[in-house]
Symmetry: D2
Subunit: 200 residues, 4 copies
């Protein structure tokens, strides 16, 4: 296989990228001068060097040569240690943190447990989660922040059952009308939740 | 204007229908035999005859020649008279009722109050709402079931301010993740609400 | 069935309209005053009265009480009688006529012949077409203006075989790049046609 | 800027990729083990080494250490040397070649000339084209294979005027109905072309 096809194949494994767009990426690189490719190579190489995984929440962050392997959030004593929010992936953590509503700590599961999965422990960081929960002294509430779909619900259920007894309170994200939702087009489940969780 | 163009023009005023689809409707009628058009004419004519507006909730319903001008829901004593849900349109009422979660009474506003509207009373059935609220003996909570957008919020705010003091409790539909929502794509406002209204 | 449901059902048979939008049409009619419904009824009724089918091309047109049953195009001697363009439906005729490129006569087939159809003569106006072709004195070319899909090709093939020998020349619409098409996204068939039918 | 943000920024310059998807690419790389990143780096590096630009058509191809700087098509004597097809980009060449309809030679312009562009020669490989045309002995026809939009037409026009006199015949790709097109939705220009270029 020549290197156009080889690189196309690698790009085609990127999330959401098909073979055609992958090819377009390769031609894009070819049409730029050499500096651009060098920049890409350098950035990918330094990614693996600079970025370490936080020992607290398991998310990826820029280590900057620091001794501690804790990210800025896990190292921040001012956050609320009574709450731990479990999210599937780094990008979900980013979305929540950007919303500015949550002040506790996080744990990134690294995936979800699909319905009927026989080996859930291979899909998510269950050992790391166990260690994280056991080392948390003031922990009072675990927020299972999952996508509002079947896999998300299954993942939340799996964690709940595993730590029932250890953790006192589990909570899940509130369901209801999302911004911009119209009653006419909302599904019955969403309307039901919107009514049950109405705010006074 | 010939009657093809005339009827196209009428169909083009239907919600969501452009001039092209309107024309397609006309040719569809022409290509069917006469019975179909007669059926349509008969159905439109009997609509105006049979369908009356409920004096309680203002929604349209099939009167069936009854003396009472109350729809089946307003006439149902078994429903919870402590709650009145205000919805913008008949179709919103249908969506909520189909979800099977609400057992109180309804009031159909007939529209919304857009931001900066100078004559809100021309947009919604404000007199009828007033009469409805005043005649409700056990009313404890008014649920302002609006679309989760600016006009919906403005309408809720308008009603709240108008009846503050008269009604003890106003509530609005819960906001959060709708069915199928993914954290990564949710807007900050929705994530904030999902966190604040989390369920334990 | 009450008349809301009855009328919804009728609208739901309109091309491209689902049960939900059909309901919305009904509530739209209900929310308008009586004049609007009357206007609709009147327009539908006069459609069947005023609109007649042209004996030449079979399209629907406003008769205006005229004795002749020929539409303005079929009655126009200035058009080119050596060409007859066969189109599936009235709306296709309108699209072609709007493009202003064709100056011959038309015949509206009233449908297409799907692949594997056992009774093609029930789908299209084959007897009327035969009569039209036989009564055309100067006819030299029949343009089979069909959609560029399998049913369109099948219909063209069916007509060609039926009148081979009677009509001297059959033509089909040119295939190639449509306005705005990009080479990168064009299918191989289209590119092949675009090359074969290149203009010098 | 840390290397997550740096790499995100680089990916965000890829065609069709926004900042969010760029970030997803980075997390995708982080979540895979080191081998995947190494593979990407290696493929990008060998791309610049292995891929050379053909001296005949200017397209990028895998050189394989060969002495000749001609791609497999330009080096193929069996192709039709009377025809030269000019396409904007490598990916357009691939689309045409995949369609299997053309057996002549190619030239990749490297871009298009937008309307009102004051320095067309900076946008396209005009010197290389000139050299290519002058060195072609049997050349009889140049096919200007451009996208069917304003920039494509402008580019074709620019090249035509520049080489009028030198090249005997210029042709452009045929316009008409693309595969799957329906008359009802086709624009007037496309219908006009479809009629004018009808096939008998």
């Amino acid at each position: 296989m020549n290197s156009i096809d080889k690189l196309s194949e690698i790009f085609a494994r990127f999330p959401g990228i098909g073979p055609r767009q992958a090819k377009r990426f390769v031609y894009f690189l070819l049409s730029r001068n050499g500096d651009y490719s060098s920049e890409l190579v350098k950035a990918v190489q330094s990614l693996k060097k600079e970025i370490i995984q936080c020992e607290g929440c398991m998310r990826f962050f820029a280590g900057n040569g620091q001794v501690s392997k804790l990210c800025s959030i896990c190292a921040d004593d001012a956050r609320d240690s009574s709450m731990l929010m479990i999210v599937p992936r780094d990008i979900d953590f980013e979305a929540i943190e950007r919303s500015g509503s949550y002040k506790g700590y996080y744990f990134i599961l690294g995936g979800v447990v699909p319905i009927l999965e026989k080996e859930p422990e291979k899909r998510i960081r269950i050992k790391e989660l166990e260690k994280r929960i056991k080392s948390s002294e003031n922990l009072k509430e675990i927020i299972l922040a999952m996508n509002a779909n079947l896999d998300g619900e299954n993942t939340a259920e799996f964690i709940k059952q595993k730590y029932q007894g250890i953790v006192l309170v589990f909570s899940t994200l509130g369901k209801g009308l999302s911004t911009g939702a119209e009653l006419e087009y909302a599904d019955p489940e969403t309307l039901k939740n919107a009514f049950l969780h109405r705010t006074k």
